[in-house]
Amino acid sequence: MDWKRFGFIALIIIVLFSVVVMIGQAKQPPLLIVTSMLATTIAVATPLTLGALSGVFCERAGVVNIGIEGMMLTAAFFGWLGGIYMFHIFQLPPSVSIVLGVFFAILTGALMALLHAVLSITFKVDQIIGGTVINILAVGLTGFLNRQLFFGSTSVFEGSVPSSPGVLPTVHIPITELFASICNSSAACLQNVQAINRVFDQKPIAMGAILLVFLSHYILFNTRWGLRTRAVGEHPQAADTVGINVIFMRYANVLIGGMFAGLAGAYFTIESVPSFEPLLTNGRGFISLAAMIFGNWTPIGAWAASLVFGASQAMLINMQIFRDVIPPAWSFLQESYIVGLTPYILTMFILTGIIGRTTPPAADGIPYEK
């Protein structure tokens, strides 16, 4: 593990949190602020984490993927659309429709990834161009269909947007129950428990993302699949000479990557808010790309990086909420246009390699020719 990197990441997160606590404690108990921020951080980081994982699998196998944004967006749309169709056209119960929606999203991600694979592996199209194509196509396609299906005479639903089957429910982790006994009904203590509980009041995809991070890490570094994937990304010829099917490994991993992006898409329209808007991913795909590099192409690293972005977002929100108690010295923190730049500047700073060079897989972005 790359302690310098993780140290730096931890430092940033701590700084961001303490700024908010310092300002907010005038209004709120620090514990509540911290847990609330943690919750926001995790939630905001979820799509970034999944997007970054998508990148990790593609690029560990040697395929650069800047199409994450497009994959997310398309998946968000079709996942949502699928849910609605199941719900309204096929009259399935909401719960089933929602779950199916998630599957549609993952499937869509995989299909977009397939396109990317065909372009960059089979047709050996410049992989960054391929990704750009995906991004542009995604915007056009989702925008067009969203308009065509839900508006005007041609639309399936007589021009109105039908109610979606809803969103994934919050997973209940019995923190309160666990601690309640210890508290033996001291009000203050229970309040703290409530506060802590807030951190765990997350939804399946958010929770799943964290599990997937560690699972991916294990797969990449401790299994046959992982070893072969990395081999293909580092030195495809070498892999070929020991009888590994480079093309297959690349296709498979790009598809896996697509599925992660698809799940990220599902997060937007099926877990967070049950509606689709053109461009709703708002460049988070690019941020996850940055997170992947930031985390040096490792799942855990990428996750940590995503948390940084999550934390800075959480800080921005809280700065607005605590607007009226910000001391004049700190008032610049309200210039949200400027404070909003933090993640971007941070990313560029990381890319300078000042806190440890990031080293991509050796064959990343290079089409394999026998």
Binding site: Y218, N222, T223, R224, L227, R228, R230, A231, E234, H235, Q237, A238, A239, D240, T241, V242, G243, I244, N245, A362, K370
Partner: protein
């Protein structure tokens, strides 16, 4: 006595690549427990034949038999299954993986889904004991010296229980001593019933180690002979198809004033490791100083430091009395340096540029090639035509892309560009003949000597000991970034140099 049985046989194998007929109806066989050398110049089709046998390419015609039965080889999997293993000239190892990971790759042992590194390490240790190939299973491959990496490659084949091992140019990267060691290992293997195909273009080695020798030329098998029944002259003749002068004839040089002076030079590589420590030497006008040494002992960084591509951490470089330490390449070039880089395709040429453009790659900005920042195509054209005839570059026209030329002609383009420059005082030639056919090698050697005789100082860096000995007036041996000895080329021997190259601390004779 009865010949041992044939374990591998290729019949009438033909392979056409765009432009070249790489293998033309080739027959080849390998007997159990023998070392069968496959001799030929670069591009003779040796590697192609092996790649066909190993399943990396597929023959257009012909069949391959293992232990008498015909097998269809579609991918390395099939050949591995048939007990064939191959050690490629460019190692197929992943630097960021450990030895164990590299060895098991493609044939992993797992326990409950996760890699069982312990078991693999154990098996590796067993093999390395058995064949005296000691390697540390848990070491990262990247930092290991090439000699060891080669062992890892061999272990890889044995790990897959290969009974036929193909070694492609295995000695290219070794000191004579390491080569000896490799030959020992090869004999141990054959003693244990492993059969070996040994690909090389070095006559001495073939005669030293092979049981049988098959010579290939231009995709055809010329002949198969026993070492006892032939000699190097005859082999060379078969290889090249004509009489070859095995030694460069050069008249004694009259040492002029010193031109290149290097004092206490230290250089760090991109991983920030100091790969050249405190090196000092001089090269005089009209002499060739050869730098012998196994690859990766700092020669690359040394030449980069001399040519301005890498700035030294300490020390001083003067050319013709001018201090040029850490100056950019252009300044040094203008001071009279001609540089023949190590990797001609990556560093010497822009393959998708025309020959004409490549021939002006360094001087494009100067009169007559450009006037007030505007390129003069006519000047480029004339210049290239002049050089093409002067250095007999075989090209249809000055306007074909350099990428379309053969390796030899590409190198000639570079040589022409560098040596034809008006003010050349010093030539730094780094592996100038690597991978070339004998014809081109002879030509380039003669050009280097010509420069020397014109009173130019030449620094020749080569891993080919023969080349060093043939061309150099003085020889400096580099080991682990230091110059361990500088001797007169007439007063030393291969063995002596080999010892120095291997780091033995023997006083210069």
């Amino acid at each position: 006595m009865s010949e041992p049985k044939i374990v591998l046989e290729a019949k009438g194998v033909t392979k056409q690549f765009p432009g070249v007929l790489a293998n033309d109806n080739v027959d080849f066989d390998l007997r159990k427990g023998e070392i069968h050398a496959l001799l030929g110049e670069n591009g003779a089709g040796k590697s192609t034949l092996m790649n066909l046998i190993y399943g990396l390419h597929h023959p257009d015609k012909g069949e391959i038999f293992v232990n008498g039965k015909h097998i269809a080889i579609h991918s390395p999997n099939d050949s591995i299954a048939a007990g064939i293993g191959m050690v490629h000239q460019h190692f197929m190892l992943i630097p960021v993986f450990t030895v164990a990971e590299n060895v098991m790759l493609g044939d992993e042992t797992t326990k409950r889904g996760s890699l069982d590194r312990v078991a693999v390490a154990a098996k590796i240790n067993k093999i390395s004991k058995q064949y005296g190939l000691d390697v540390d299973a848990n070491a990262l491959v990247g930092p290991l010296p090439v000699g060891i990496q080669q062992r890892v490659e061999i272990v890889k084949t044995l790990y897959r229980n290969a009974e036929i091992v193909i070694l492609d140019e295995p000695t290219a990267v070794l000191t004579p001593q390491e080569a000896e060691d490799l030959f020992r290992i090869m004999r141990d293997l054959t003693a244990r019933g492993v059969s070996i195909i040994f690909i090389t273009h070095k006559l001495k080695e073939v005669l030293a180690v092979a049981d049988r020798i098959t010579v290939m030329r231009a995709g055809r098998v010329i002949n198969t002979v026993k070492p006892s029944e032939t000699d190097s002259a005859q082999l060379a003749n078969m290889m090249v198809g004509r009489q070859v002068i095995l030694t460069v004839n050069k008249k004694d040089h009259e040492a002029a004033e010193e031109i290149l002076k290097v004092e206490g030079l230290s250089v760090r590589d991109q991983r920030d490791l100091e790969t050249v420590h405190n090196v000092s030497f001089t090269v005089r006008g009209g002499e060739v100083l050869g730098i012998a040494g196994v690859q990766g002992n700092g020669q690359t960084e040394l030449s980069e430091a001399l040519t301005g591509l890498r700035s030294p951490t300490s020390g001083k470089v003067t050319i013709g009395g001018k201090d040029l330490t850490g100056k950019p390449p252009r300044i040094i070039t203008e001071a009279g340096l001609a540089h023949i880089p190590e990797d001609r395709q990556r560093h010497g040429l822009v393959l998708s540029y025309t020959v004409a453009d490549n021939m002006a790659l360094c001087d494009y900005y100067q009169i007559p090639f450009s006037v007030r920042g505007v390129i003069q195509p006519k000047a480029l054209d004339e210049n290239s035509r002049k050089l093409i005839s002067a250095y007999d570059v075989r090209t249809p026209s000055p306007f074909v892309n350099a990428g379309k030329l053969s390796g030899g002609n590409q190198q000639k383009v570079i040589v022409a560009r560098e040596l034809s420059r008006g003010n050349v005082k010093l030539v730094v030639a780094n592996q100038p003949t690597r991978g070339l056919d004998v014809g081109s090698i002879e030509y380039i050697h003669s050009e280097i000597i010509k420069m020397r005789d014109r009173g130019v100082a030449v620094l020749l860096i080569s891993a080919e000991l023969d080349e060093i000995m043939a061309l150099s007036d003085r020889i400096a041996v580099m080991y682990r970034g230091q110059i361990v000895a500088i001797v007169d080329s007439k007063k030393t021997t291969r063995e002596q140099l080999g010892l120095w190259m291997a780091g033995a601390h023997v006083e210069p004779a």
